[in-house]
């Protein structure tokens, strides 16, 4: 049975035996019958490490541990338990529970006497301990964990010979059949050709066979034809796309940082590297070395550097206020732990804070490994204040051919435009002299300004004012924070074109002004300047065309005084102590004799108001003010330096329409050119000087202990003398043929990928607490094969799928179901629900929509709204792809850790924030809802309906339905199955026929998929519902 759901969910810590016991007990309770003895037979000797030690760990060592043990009793070490405790009685006396103080205390009825004090032991646990002592209290010596099978070298195993095998069987079959025989089981017959081709296609490429491929194999299902097919599939580029997925789960590869905001990062080149590496069968040892230390390989290729994206995939927190060093340490923890899990099947993270409780890894050894990874730079950068960004080393990828071509094209266009501009410049050089002359003349005519005839002045802040002889106004008296001066007067010119405000100095002002607020900084801020005219008893606001000034403070330009905003304005710092002026040009000239009302709104506060000012009016053309002050100066210079000449000719060119147009074009082209950047990817880079590594007490980064040197756990193969003591040396040590775990862990996972369960069920753990292998010899034989075949992944996979065992029928025969319920002994073939990505890919193939492109940037297909919600600064947006990328394989869908693709989540995809070895395989109503209602699957339903209709134009209804279902389940459906779908079709057709509006709604809502012509919407809608049903079949999502 391939489905893990109930098994993983309810795994009891004490293992299989107890589970069976419980089932027996339960049955007894419920139906009052005793089960056949086969369910209660297990009476194997108690295993200390598995059954007893966990009880001690759970209940006892909190008090009876290594530090200051209560009563002097340590239950962490063998020696501690067999000596007498402080009380003087023997703690454990082998074979005599009632003389063992330990048992006496745990089983005591006296509450004061009983251990543990909270009475935490269950009867079952007490009985286990009793039995263990009765059996001799076998507590293996201290270093017995080193004798654990997984730490011993891989054995050279010879396949069993006393097994009757058919001609085409291989060694795997010999191992498995021998084991089946031992257990009185028989293998199943070969699966039907249709089932077999579907299984092997999906297992190797994640893509189902086409009906034609099925027909061909059904016609010739010979072992030879099968073998040929296997070789073709292994050579298919689809292989890597399918097999990369579990590795990317392990590598916790995602397209975002994780944590707050969870911004996107560019690292997809690493994903593509994994796909390529699998496709070209990069030897598995090299596969490991390049990912861990590709950057350190002498003369590393671009590809080898991309491979190091493996450990850059660690999540990274860049929320405001993070401490970069803490982040860095967390990332290294993640790298060390992921390395342990991914390559060694070891939970070394337990040794982060203390010596490992089960496995022979000390805390010192943990930090020795840590030190190999401790030499890469920080990956968060302070941007401002306490704001951080994710950075860390990234590498530019070579430009794609398309991009190179686009770049060349733009470069030549830019060249052409530049040449054209040069030509114009030369041609018009002579004209510039004329233009300068004209400009000089124009500048000579200063507009004529006349002081305003003031009739009244009001100040909102209670200041006093005084008109001076020159027509200016001097402000004195109180100094309010803000003030509005309202000045009323008469225009004495013919046609009023503009207003000039002079802000003047005066001895009476602080520091002589022109502002009033400060002796040292007599600035003013004219927040808003306005002019109203009196007409028909109403004040009419006048608009200004532009504003000019002799000088404006940085970020306080004069036109801010007419922008309608009271928090901006015109100011003059640092040019205090001298007069300034501003000119406001009117949009429309104002008739003579109009009554004018000016408002000088000075809203800044702190008395930044004008001390003395004069208002002047003019009826002249004010165009002269449009010429910038520096140009006015430069054009009148006799001698100009280079910079000045350039400024002048640039200004002149700006008046040349043709030149301006070309310039605009040039800028646009340059922008396009700049937009073509090489893609980049995250890589590992070693710092020149390695960091010192200290053991972190209790794993706390602020609590460093003694210094440690790079090293590896003593229990594993030794670190070869000729290897460098750096990440590369570590990687080579890890991937060495002598490493007892490296090959075993890998082949076991590939086996699980193909059979649904590993030979060691705990894929993530080969330690002392792991499950005993079902076929230890086979595991070692496979591991050996891997090493001997130069670590070829494809060769191992090929051997496994060519075995008779893989080709068995998956039907639960009664004997297989009873005696091998979980298919641990392989009495039948594998049957599994597809992974989330496979379900998508399969439906895309069946519907004919799949876009076959390999690699590249992640894609965003349909997903419901509001899945990617903002989680802080710079949160990324989901921009749904409407092009062909919408129908790419699941492996290319963008992976955002805070919110992974929702239909994948419903089918057990992890968030990839941490290393995941195997996904659950659950069976939930949310999965049903996803397949029934997700718009993405509805698009595929229309795709399937459309292709069925167009590809089978002249077929009957039944033939169409047959073809539709055959595509989805890779076999010809039975007549009664076809009838079920015919009935569904007929009913839906009449339903939509009676409700054509619904049909239109249904079809119109599915965009981006073409509907066939010449078919009514009600009929098409009925077909979509049939396709929807077919895509929901259990058989469609299983293989």
């Amino acid at each position: 049975m391939g489905h893990l759901s109930f098994e993983t969910r309810f795994r009891f810590p004490t293992g299989h035996f107890l589970r069976l016991l419980l089932i027996a007990l339960l049955t007894h309770l419920l139906i009052g019958v005793h089960l056949s003895p086969c369910l209660a037979q297990t009476t194997a000797k108690i295993d200390f490490a598995k059954q007893i030690q966990p009880i001690f760990e759970k209940h006892c060592i909190e008090c009876h541990g290594d530090s200051e043990p209560e009563g002097g009793l340590r239950l962490t070490q063998r020696d501690g338990a067999f000596v007498d405790g402080d009380s003087g009685s023997a703690v454990i006396v082998a074979r005599h529970p009632d003389r063992s103080g330990l048992f006496v205390r745990i089983s005591s009825k006296d509450k004061a006497e009983r251990m543990p004090p909270d009475g935490g032991l269950t009867d079952k646990e007490i009985k286990l301990i009793q039995r263990w002592i009765s059996e001799g209290a076998d507590w293996p010596k201290e270093n017995s964990t080193r004798q654990h099978w997984a730490y011993k070298p891989v054995r050279d195993v010879v396949p069993p010979k006393n097994v009757n095998l058919s001609k085409s069987a291989n060694h795997i079959d010999a191992f498995v059949i021998a084991r089946l025989k031992e257990r009185g089981l028989a293998p199943s017959h070969r699966a039907t050709p249709a089932k077999l081709i579907r299984r092997v296609y999906l297992a190797l490429t994640g893509i189902p066979p086409t009906p034609a491929e099925v027909a061909k194999f059904v016609a010739d299902p010979s072992p030879k034809a099968y073998e040929k097919m296997v070789d073709q599939l292994l050579a298919s580029p689809r292989f890597g796309e399918h097999w990369a997925r579990p590795w990317l789960d392990l590598a916790r590869y995602a397209d975002s940082n994780g944590f707050q905001a969870d911004q996107l990062r560019e690292s997809w080149a690493y994903r593509d590297w994994v796909i390529r590496a699998m496709n070209r069968d990069l030897p598995f040892d090299q596969f490991a070395i390049e990912q861990l230390a590709g950057d350190l390989i002498p003369n590393a290729t671009v590809d080898q550097k991309i491979a190091t994206g493996f450990h850059r995939a660690a999540a990274c927190n860049v929320e405001a206020g993070v401490h970069p060093e803490q982040n860095r340490i967390n990332q290294i923890f993640d790298r060390v732990n992921t390395t342990g899990t991914a390559f060694l099947g070891m939970t070394i993270e337990c040794a982060q804070c203390h010596n490992h409780k089960y496995d022979p890894i000390t805390q010192d050894e943990y930090y020795q490994m840590f030190s190999f990874f401790n030499n890469t730079p920080l990956e968060v950068k302070l941007v401002s204040g306490v704001r951080y960004d994710f950075y860390g080393p990234s590498m530019e990828l070579p430009l794609s051919a398309e991009k190179v071509a686009a770049r060349n094209k733009l470069n030549s266009e830019i060249e052409a435009v530049k040449n054209r501009m040069k030509v114009i410049q030369v041609r018009d050089a002579a004209l510039q002299a004329d233009w300068e002359k004209k400009l000089r003349q124009q500048l000579k005519i200063e507009p004529n300004w006349k002081p305003l005839e003031i009739t009244s002045i009001e100040t909102s802040g209670g200041e006093q004012n005084k008109k001076l002889d020159d027509g200016s106004v001097l402000i004195s008296g109180s100094l309010p924070g803000t003030s509005v001066y309202t000045v009323t007067g008469k225009s004495s010119v013919k046609k009023l074109t503009g207003i000039k405000i002079e802000t003047l100095t005066d001895e009476s002002l602080p520091g002589t002004g022109p502002g009033r607020g400060d002796v040292k900084r007599p600035n003013f801020i004219l927040s808003e300047f306005s002019l109203e005219t009196r007409s028909k008893n109403r004040w009419l606001k006048q608009s200004f065309e532009a504003a000019f000034a002799d000088f404006s403070q940085n970020r306080w330009p004069v036109n801010a005084a007419i922008d309608g905003k009271r928090n901006t304005g015109w100011a003059i710092a640092p040019q205090f102590f001298k007069p300034h002026w501003a000119v406001f040009e009117l949009k429309k000239p104002i008739d003579p004799n109009a009554t004018l009302r000016f408002k000088l709104d000075q809203n800044y506060g702190r008395g930044r108001t004008i001390g003395r000012f004069r208002i002047l009016v003019s009826s002249d053309d004010l165009a002269v003010y449009r010429v910038p002050a520096d140009i006015r100066r430069i054009v009148n210079l006799k001698k100009r330096n280079k910079k000045q000449s350039k400024r002048l000719s640039d200004y002149y060119n700006a008046t040349n329409v043709e030149f301006v147009k070309l310039n605009r074009q040039l800028k646009k082209l340059q922008r396009s050119l700049n937009a073509i950047k090489p893609e980049s990817t995250l890589v590992m880079v070693e710092m020149n000087k390695p960091r010192e590594t200290r053991k972190l007490i209790r794993g706390e980064y602020l609590n460093p202990g003694k210094k440690v040197e790079p090293g590896v756990p003593a229990v594993l193969n030794s670190f070869a003398k000729d290897l460098p003591r750096n990440r590369l040396g570590f990687a080579k040590w890890l991937a060495a043929a002598e490493n007892p775990l490296f090959a075993r862990v890998a082949v076991n996972r590939w086996w699980a990928q193909l059979f649904g369960n590993g030979l060691v069920e705990s894929l993530e753990d080969f330690g002392v607490q792991s499950q005993t292998p079902s076929h230890p010899e086979l595991l070692d034989w496979l591991a050996r094969q891997l090493v001997e075949n130069k670590f070829s992944r494809k060769k191992i996979i090929r051997t496994v799928v060519l075995s008779k065992m893989f080709q068995q029928s998956a039907v639960f025969r009664p004997s297989s179901r009873t005696n091998d319920p979980k298919n641990r002994w392989l009495s039948r073939g594998p049957r599994m629900r597809m992974s989330a990505e496979m379900i998508r890919d399969n439906a895309l193939v069946v519907s004919g929509l799949l876009e076959n492109k390999i690699g590249g940037k992640p894609v965003m297909p349909y997903q419901p709204n509001r899945i990617w919600r903002a989680v802080g600064r710079n949160a990324p947006q989901w921009v749904e792809t409407t092009g062909r990328d919408r129908f790419r394989r699941g492996i290319y869908v963008v992976w955002r850790r805070a919110a992974p693709y929702p239909s994948f989540v419903n089918f057990d995809a992890p968030d990839r924030a941490a290393c995941v070895v195997s996904r659950s395989r659950t069976n939930t109503p949310l999965q049903a809802l996803t397949l029934l209602n997700d718009q993405a699957f509805f698009e595929m339903a229309l795709g399937l309906a459309s292709r069925t209709i167009t590809e089978n134009k002249s077929s009957t209804l039944r033939e169409k339905i047959k073809s539709m279902m055959a595509r989805s389940v890779s076999r010809t459906p039975e007549a009664d199955e076809v009838e079920i779908l015919v009935r569904l079709f007929e009913k839906q057709k009449s339903h939509f026929g009676a409700n054509p509006k619904l049909a239109t709604q249904l079809i119109d809502a599915i965009r981006h998929v073409d509907a066939p012509a010449k078919i009514s919407k009600p009929e098409l809608a009925a077909w979509v519902m049939v396709a929807n049903a077919i895509l929901n079949l259990d058989e469609t999502i299983n293989y």
């Binding site: 206020g321 239109t1000 809502a1005 519902m1025």
Partner: protein, 487 residues
């Protein structure tokens, strides 16, 4: 013909015998008590619908359900629950060296000044109810139900950045990969309603920094992850039929699918197919039961008045009412997240605004539960990822000076629990006169979680899941049940 679970329940002894004889074996037995829905377990000695990994509670449970409110960003305990007159007195003074030097602070970089609660009527504390618990006037409705609360003023944590602190608070581990508290409870106790998940999440405002991992199942089977019920769009993702598809069509499709699946079951004999058939039926039922649940229009007017709810709106108040409706239907663990409490600046204006949004609905929820007799076995929790400093911070992170607020504080913060077997009108733990350090009864997050599980009848040391060779638990290797707060 294989047997379905529903068939199994109807079987007579003779039938079962015969089936066993012909090899139905352990699988069917394993599935025998399997509810065809959420949080199902084959192994339970308890014949009620509640079914999880635990055969039976370790102790008698005082709480059956939990409504867990997490105020994302962390509200100021000093201004709401932990009155500090001395701090008010010393407002503006430079803080003692030991508050700053060698401390991990997220934003403050210069030795800051002490910041007392504003001396305004709106911010004053008042002795409430018979218990006399002192609560800020910012929470006037909560003041009225103060006698229901166990207020914990001595929470502490190790993380001072939001996302890691949220992960620590909500999964007992500051990095990714561990199951959330709701997932542990779903795993341990299962669901009481086969039509609804055991663990439901309701969100107002932005999603918290820890993302979906805050309600993720980690290494537990994914059936235990929190399912978000959304206030906009489909309440549960993919719940509604696509445009143009009516329930009758949906029914027809499911009928056809299940007829074909039954034929497949006959051929393959794989019990998973039977489960899938049941899941399609359940999916169909959810299409009516979930919208009915989410539609609060059916609630009487006085209930809307009590909570301040408006049907069709997406608000914290609506989520409180939904929480009650979910618990009523047997959802084990309902988690409410409300964003917007991270007040580094302008705390004097922003805190009253946020309090206004949550005060009345939360008090209404507790009063409503009580009035329905549900508070006895429903635990309501107020939590956050950490607290806020007694020192002021005038910096918003971009370097702009803004009106003053408070930084993240891990040394002490406040939570409360109500109902479900905790003491009524009780205060636990104490901080120093300036509200910086804890001086009595410290409660680490692991202690908090241990206590929470205890109330549900679970020994936190015994709710374990073996992964990577280790028996993991919510409280890691720590956690002490705060027995003093148990009623």
């Amino acid at each position: 013909m294989p047997i379905s679970q529903s068939d199994l329940r109807k079987l007579t002894r003779r039938h079962l015998f015969r089936q066993l004889g012909s090899g139905i074996g352990a699988i069917a037995l394993g599935n025998m008590l399997l509810e065809d829905g959420w949080g199902a377990s084959p192994l339970t000695l308890n014949s009620s619908t509640a079914s999880g990994a635990l055969a039976a509670p370790h102790f008698p449970a005082t709480a059956k359900n939990v409504i867990y409110i997490h105020l994302v960003g962390a509200p100021s305990q000093i201004d709401l629950f932990d009155e500090k007159p001395e701090l008010q007195k010393r407002n503006g003074q430079l803080c003692p060296d030991e508050f700053f030097k060698g401390k991990q602070l997220a934003f403050i970089r210069k030795q800051p000044s002490l910041l007392g609660t504003p001396k305004k009527k709106a911010f004053e504390f008042r002795s409430c109810g018979e218990s006399g618990i002192r609560i800020s006037n910012l929470l006037p409705h909560l003041q009225q139900i103060a006698d229901e609360l166990t207020l914990i003023r001595s929470m502490h944590t190790e993380q001072f950045n939001h996302a890691p602190a949220q992960l620590l608070m909500l999964s007992g581990f500051e990095r990714f990969g561990r199951p959330s508290v709701g997932s542990w409870i779903s795993y341990g106790l299962g669901s009481e309603n086969r039509n609804l998940p055991a663990f439901v999440v309701l969100i107002t405002g932005q999603v918290l920094g820890a993302g979906n991992s805050a309600w993720g199942s980690g290494f537990l089977p994914t059936v235990h992850q929190g399912i978000e019920f959304r206030s906009k769009g489909d309440p549960v993702l993919f719940l509604s039929n696509p445009a143009g598809v009516q329930p009758s069509s949906r029914r027809d499709v499911i009928d056809a699918v299940n007829q074909l699946n039954r034929r497949q079951l006959q051929r393959e004999q794989d019990p998973e197919i039977e489960t899938r058939i049941q899941q399609y039926e359940l999916a169909y039922r959810m299409q009516t039961s979930v919208p009915e649940l989410m539609d609060i229009r059916s609630e009487p007017q006085h209930v809307h008045q009590l909570y301040g709810t408006k049907p069709g709106e997406s608000s914290f108040a609506n989520n409180c009412l939904l929480a009650r409706r979910l618990v009523e239907r047997g959802v084990r663990f309902v988690q409410l997240f409300d964003q917007g409490w991270d007040m580094h600046g302008s705390i004097a204006t922003r805190l009253p605004q946020k309090c206004k949004q949550v005060d009345r609905p939360i008090a209404a929820l507790i009063a409503d539960l009580k009035q329905r007799g549900m508070l006895d076995d429903t635990l309501v929790v107020w939590s956050s990822e950490f607290g806020r400093t007694p020192m002021g911070q005038g910096n918003d992170g971009a370097g702009n000076q803004t009106k003053i607020g408070r930084d993240h504080h891990k040394e002490s913060f406040a939570t409360w629990m109500a109902g479900g077997g905790v003491k009524r009108g009780f205060c636990y733990g104490k901080t120093d006169e300036l509200g910086y350090n804890i001086v009595a009864d410290p409660m680490h997050i692991h202690d908090f979680n241990a206590t929470l599980l205890h109330l549900l009848g679970i020994d936190h040391k015994k709710l374990t899941f073996k992964y990577q060779g280790r028996n993991f638990r919510l409280t890691d290797v720590k956690g002490i049940v705060a027995k003093k707060i148990l009623a």
